[in-house]
């Protein structure tokens, strides 16, 4: 549930406020914390430390690791396959971010309101976001079936669009994956935008209308400026989500056909677990982690700036 990241980060920030000073028997605090700290150490911090250390080593099981300095990083960055994968990752992250925002915003504007039928439509539209990725992938593999009588080709046939190869052609595979990402991401953005729209002062709309502004100018001059911080958060979150993409690619195409949808994480997975290049795979993960952390900090910064206002 990447989507809950913001909520939790906010909770954490508030939780970090100074604790009430109540000198009770406090020595047992560590006992209460022990299960959480042990699990986090074993399954988060130890793997993290090993990833960092492996990224500087030539990892050779049974032979002992050899320190190679930045060699793995050089190998990764010099590998055309990695650069291609990084390119695909960025295309997907940017494309899914923009696509989800545009579609999500359109949905939010269309479905804003308190009427019951709107609520039902919103609920229906939101379903892709709660659907497990494994099911989304299985479903879209069927929808994308590349024969002329495949489900999507049939629907497109109704409006006169020709059959496509989708996931099966290197020319369209990346876009097909991107479309699935938008299908799943747009409803989430819609909900965030709806919450943002709900916070816009209604009297501003009336004032704008009194000044003779039509719906579009109201949108542009009243609603959008009020929602600017929401845009910032949605963009950063979607970009972070996009960079670490793995499961959808693994299940939809596994990087194929012909490497046309290979992303950083699927490549790292193959390098690490299928080809045992643990050092190089770790270096690749580290590069991605740095990119993710930079984006996360950017998200925090945006929220701070908004709160300061």
């Amino acid at each position: 549930v990447t989507t809950t990241l913001v909520a939790a980060a906010a909770a954490g920030e508030r939780a970090a406020a100074p604790v009430r000073r109540r000198p009770f028997r406090n020595a047992s605090a560590w006992l209460w914390l022990a299960p959480a700290l042990i699990l986090l150490t074993v399954f988060k911090f130890v793997p993290m430390a090993r990833a960092i250390s492996m990224s500087f080593k030539d990892v050779r099981p049974y032979l002992g690791d050899r320190w190679v300095g930045l060699g793995n990083y050089r190998a990764v960055l010099g590998d055309p396959a990695f650069r291609a994968a990084a390119g695909h990752t960025v295309v997907l992250a940017v494309g899914e971010t923009i696509g989800s925002i545009v579609v999500g915003l359109a949905l939010a504007l269309l479905l804003e309101g308190t009427a019951r039928h709107l609520w039902i439509v919103r609920t229906a539209v939101f379903l892709p976001t709660v659907t497990t990725m494994a099911v989304v992938a299985a479903l879209w593999r069927i929808l994308y079936y590349p024969a002329p009588d495949g489900a999507l080709n049939t629907v497109l046939g109704w409006v006169g669009l020709g059959p496509g190869q989708y996931l099966d052609s290197p020319h369209t595979s990346l876009w097909s994956v991107l479309a699935v990402g938008v299908w799943r991401g747009a409803p989430y953005d819609m909900m965030i935008f709806l919450a943002g729209l709900a916070g816009v002062d209604r009297s501003l709309y009336e004032a704008a209308a009194a000044d003779g502004a039509g719906p579009l100018r109201r949108l542009w001059h009243v609603a959008f400026p009020a929602m600017r911080p929401v845009f910032g958060i949605v963009v950063t979150l979607a970009a972070i989500r996009g960079l670490r993409v793995f499961t959808e690619i693994y299940l939809l195409t596994n990087g194929g056909p012909n490497g046309s949808t290979e992303v950083v994480m699927t490549l790292v997975y193959k390098l690490g677990l299928e080809r045992d290049e643990l050092g190089i795979a770790s270096a690749g993960s580290m590069l991605l982690l740095v990119a993710t952390i930079v984006l996360t900090l950017l998200a925090q910064l945006l929220r701070r700036r908004r709160e300061a206002r």
């Binding site: 549930v1 990447t2 809950t4 990241l5 909520a7 939790a8 980060a9 906010a10 909770a11 508030r14 939780a15 604790v19 000073r21 109540r22 009770f24 406090n26 020595a27 047992s28 605090a29 209460w32 299960p35 959480a36 399954f43 993290m48 090993r50 990833a51 504007l109 479905l111 439509v121 539209v125 379903l127 892709p128 709660v130 659907t131 497990t132 990725m133 494994a134 099911v135 299985a138 069927i142 929808l143 024969a147 989430y188 909900m191 919450a195 943002g196 729209l197 209604r202 709309y205 009336e206 949108l219 979150l237 299940l251 994480m265 997975y269 690490g272 677990l273 795979a281 993960s285 982690l289």
Partner: protein, 287 residues
Amino acid sequence: MRQLDTALGLGAVRGPLGRIVKVALYALAVFVFAGPLLALLVSAFGRVTDPTRLTLIPHDLTLDNFRTAFDQGVLRYLANSLIVVGGGLLLQIAVSVTAAYALARKQFPGVRLVLLLILSTMMLPEEILAIPLSLVLADVPVIHVNLVGTLAGMIVPVGAWAFAILVMTEFMRDVPIELEEAARIDGAGDVRIFWSVILPVCRPALGVLGIFGFTMIWDQYILPLLVAQDSAQFTLALALRSLRADEQVGTGVLIASALLALLPSVVVFLALQRQFMRGLTSGAIKG
């Protein structure tokens, strides 16, 4: 002015043409986003013979797909999924409430550092830790246990989830200190206070934890992928991939299994929608 309730004021659109356009747009949105899932539901009960057919119109209803799916061991995968989600959720809640009790109700040196450490794990995406995590799972430090090939390997790592701990901490912080002091004067110890004073007050937060924990564990894919060695440990999500690759198994079976994997999360979402939405948007909007 009622028509200015929304940014575009679509509620004010009247007249036959306006209404038709509006309803057409609603229908399009539902068709695009819910249509494929509805087709999955309907087709699971239909006679699907080739991989190109998905249908939105029920006809010739049958349970054959499920029968064949159960013959293929799908019940086993479903049971595995339920064991993992049940065990993981219990562990996650237990770990979260105990940690939150210390973080919210106790003053000790290092509390801020611990909070920072917990928060920092949210910046470590599981995808990026996948490879070193697989090494740790194969040989857990200190106790040297191999969790690969066991359902426990899918349960234990989800036990500590920063989001759950932080949400719980936040909630426990708001429990009035007087309740705790009164119990302490009566001679109650930490455990008694935790169990019979703090936890009962936190019941609403436990509900929220349950929803998000369930969704988080049900959506797990990488962890089961790293842990499972053969089909005996497959969860439903993992099984979908091998069912797809298996030429002997028809698309009908795949669709029926996908429906089984889909239903729990949708049911939880529909049943607890209000809490779900609040949790989802509150952080992003209110900060």
